[in-house]
């Protein structure tokens, strides 16, 4: 099989629930749920049976309203949360034959440090605000086995230059930076060890428009130059339209629509997607 045909990441039947579940909600399949919440036992079904593939060099978009399970899905993929059920295979890890959710915590850390990069919506989660910016980048390199200060510093400089952070400020801690700059430091950190897969969770939310455009430009450039596969989560259809090749629409923890971004935006099938597209300003 050609490398282009083979997904770099496949997620199959991923489910994540918060709470024990009961006979009334029967693993989130029942109609008695209010959206994704069981009124009897209080269980929330954040992700329900989600499957998708990510191909090399592709940008995959996930849209949906607040509380639809987008961020939980990303947290599961980055091992910030444990999944309830399901599997994920990474082609560059054990030849795509091991379910990464069932690996030991050491192996999960290895996958995080070598295969994945993540940019959080809130920079506080992705950065150590009190450490220098270059130190933040080095942290990921050290975790991936880097033990040469000169090489790590050079890589850090290169990346910070790439994301337009002035070199004279590289030893400053990110807490001194503006939101947009913090977000760019986060991107530099996520990219530092050349991960084949980059997870971007609402990266532009809360930034002003010109900074937003800046960050989006950067992501576009990275995708073109480094050919990294990305999953982009956003509730902003403009961002998805600009970046994503294919898009998945989520509602109440379920996938309701799945396809080429143009197709979804031009000819939405599901009622919720239609409403979403029509409310686009």
């Amino acid at each position: 099989m050609d490398d282009f045909d083979r997904p770099i990441l496949s997620v199959n039947h991923l489910s994540k629930q918060f709470g024990p579940g009961c006979i009334h909600c029967s693993s989130g399949q029942s109609d008695s749920l209010i959206k994704n919440y069981c009124p009897t036992c209080g269980t929330v079904y954040a992700c329900r049976d989600i499957s998708f593939d990510l191909y090399p060099g592709e940008v995959f978009g996930i849209v949906g309203e607040s509380g639809s399970g987008k961020s939980t899905l990303m947290q599961c993929l980055y091992f910030d949360q444990e999944v309830t059920e399901g599997e994920a295979l990474i082609a560059s890890y054990k030849n795509g034959e091991a379910n990464i959710f069932e690996e030991s915590s050491q192996q999960k850390r290895y996958i995080r440090n070598h295969q994945l990069g993540k940019v959080y919506q809130n920079p506080i989660l992705g950065l150590r605000m009190g450490f220098s910016s270059i130190g933040n980048i080095a942290e990921k390199l050290i975790a991936a086995g880097g033990r040469n200060v000169g090489a790590m510093e050079a890589r850090g400089r290169e990346l910070l230059e790439h994301v337009n952070i002035p070199i004279r400020r590289m030893k400053e801690p990110p807490k001194n930076f503006s939101g947009g700059m913090q977000q760019r430091v986060q991107i530099a950190k996520a990219l530092s060890n050349n991960p084949p897969i980059l997870l971007l969770d609402e990266v532009t939310t809360g930034l002003d428009l010109s900074v937003q455009a800046n960050v989006l430009d950067l992501i576009k450039k990275l995708q073109r130059e480094l050919n990294i596969s990305m999953i982009i989560v956003s509730h902003d259809l403009g961002v998805i339209r600009m970046l994503a090749d294919r898009t998945m629409v989520m509602l109440d923890g379920k996938v309701i629509e799945y396809g080429l971004t143009d197709q979804i935006l031009e000819d939405p099938q599901h009622r919720y997607t239609q409403q979403l597209v029509h409310s686009l300003l």
Partner: protein
């Protein structure tokens, strides 16, 4: 009022609990074993961890040496010695060679320790990752997963800020290729003495309620980068003004009259034994 204390201050049950934690610590080199740190007649943070180890281990035939930053006669060392002697009747000594148990704060003696000796170090902060990660819950997991980027990151930050690793004391070490350990605030100069030490090294943190150990002949490597190797303090060109020793850890002192700086052995018993060994006419 005269209270008859049990031998070595503690009741037998307490001593057994501390010994049990010590055995576990020896079995897992560098791993911090929690223990029930007891109330002591000295305040926590003043050497209670080391003192509890000493009291749990000491027997009637032992000879105890206690040093505080190299000195046998400082207040802290003298008071600890008094407490142990009063409750055990054990003899205290100054010469490192004569001691079977050496309790120390912030130094490893200059005279190399031997197989029959035990070195007990007092530890203020046992967790080498604490500055990087404030949560104990998280640091325990980091140790379990052998995830030590935080320890290296702290050294990296120092290099970025100051151009070199600036740990004055307590430079983190890797024990037997598994656990990163805080060697207690001994100077970098003493770190290499831990590597394949003939004596058993026990470390006790009374306030933080942890015991850990470096068993004899265990590999202890100070953390460093490929291009920034570990370096001990250098006393190139300096010698002790009293005994003339070189190649030992020296204190820098300033003569207040002339403003000149001079050096003196930090390990007082080492210095005195060298002075005593000199011919009388010297």
């Amino acid at each position: 009022m005269n209270i008859a204390y049990n031998f070595a201050f503690f009741d037998e049950g307490s001593k057994r609990e501390i010994r049990r934690s010590t055995l576990k610590a020896i079995a897992i080199p560098g791993y911090q074993v929690p223990f029930a740190s007891r109330e002591m007649p000295i305040g926590r943070g003043w050497g209670t961890g080391g003192l509890q180890l000493t009291l749990s281990l000491i027997g009637k035939k032992d000879m105890l040496k206690v040093i505080d930053q190299g000195a046998d006669e400082s207040v802290n060392a003298v008071n600890i010695k008094k407490l142990v002697t009063k409750t055990t009747g054990v003899r205290t000594v100054d010469d490192t060679e004569d001691a079977t148990v050496v309790q120390s704060r912030h130094r490893i003696p200059e005279v190399p320790l031997k197989e029959h000796q035990i070195l007990i170090l007092q530890v203020p902060l046992p967790e080498p990752l604490r500055y990087y990660e404030p949560s104990e819950f998280v640091t325990q997991r980091l140790h379990a997963e052998q995830e030590y980027s935080g320890a290296w990151l702290m050294l990296f930050e120092q290099i970025m800020k100051y151009g070199h690793m600036s740990t004055g004391a307590d430079h983190p070490v890797m024990v037997q290729d598994r656990y990163v350990m805080a060697p207690s605030p001994i100077p970098r100069f003493d770190n290499p003495k831990m590597n394949y030490s003939k004596a058993l090294i026990l470390l006790g943190a009374g306030r933080e309620k942890k015991i850990y150990a470096v068993p004899p002949f265990t590999k202890v490597v100070s953390l460093a980068f490929d291009d920034y190797p570990f370096e001990a303090e250098s006393f190139e060109g300096a010698s002790c003004w009293q005994c003339g020793a070189t190649g030992v850890f020296l204190d820098e002192l300033i003569d207040e009259g002339t403003g000149e700086t001079y050096h003196q052995c930090n390990d007082t018993s080492y210095c005195i034994s060298r002075l005593n060994a000199r011919p009388a006419n010297h």
